[in-house]
Point group: C2
Chain length 142, copies 2
Amino acid sequence: MSTSATTNEREEGLTFQPKFDASGLVTCVATDAATGEVLMVAHMNDEALRKTIESGDAWYFSRSRNALWRKGETSGQTQRVVEIRVDCDQDAIWIRVEQQGAACHTGRHSCFYRKIDAAGGGALLTFVDADRQFDPSNVYRK
Amino acid sequence: MSTSATTNEREEGLTFQPKFDASGLVTCVATDAATGEVLMVAHMNDEALRKTIESGDAWYFSRSRNALWRKGETSGQTQRVVEIRVDCDQDAIWIRVEQQGAACHTGRHSCFYRKIDAAGGGALLTFVDADRQFDPSNVYRK
């Protein structure tokens, strides 16, 4: 009963109670508020989520670097948050953002710059958007 | 060097080589092909991905039920795939779909039916779309 009540509260309630995974993360999808294009999929921990809500800029948690980061802090390609939504079981976040320049570290506007060629059995990709808005070797120079 | 070459091939190449996590899954975002709305965030294993590409219907892998499922096989709320994209490091998939009815098990069109009220400090949610397109207790009766 208590599990059921909790599930119902999580799905139908008006209290934000994000369900973090074993690593303390929720998945976050960022879309371009103007075009609806999916820009990137990343992760947020509790602090990234709180900073995003408080500041209106997108913050994420990098699993590979094990560090909190403000999107664009190195590249300048920031994301201004227009709306934050949460899904039914509160383990995924959708943010609609105004993307400054390119979201992808490769310099493309979206990380999803290739599509799968289903006709070819799914083994091959085709570029949907190959254009780089910046040169990664300049932006991320060590 | 080999790691760098692999990363470059994965990010710039035309070979689809999905990077599954330790559980054998990639994250999949489904958006409504007509409106751009994010419908749901779920997971795919290798078989779900292959079946999705081959059939043109969305297949997922349920972590809670530890089972492959064709979206809508119980509810009838299927997803016809219009386009499949992969992100830069090939660990996330974006599918644009024609959603039959509602994507969410609660009966809403999208799982993201509530937004976070940032003005209130982020503790509260507001319904963006409360309307149910079906009654879950009828659709998922045991």
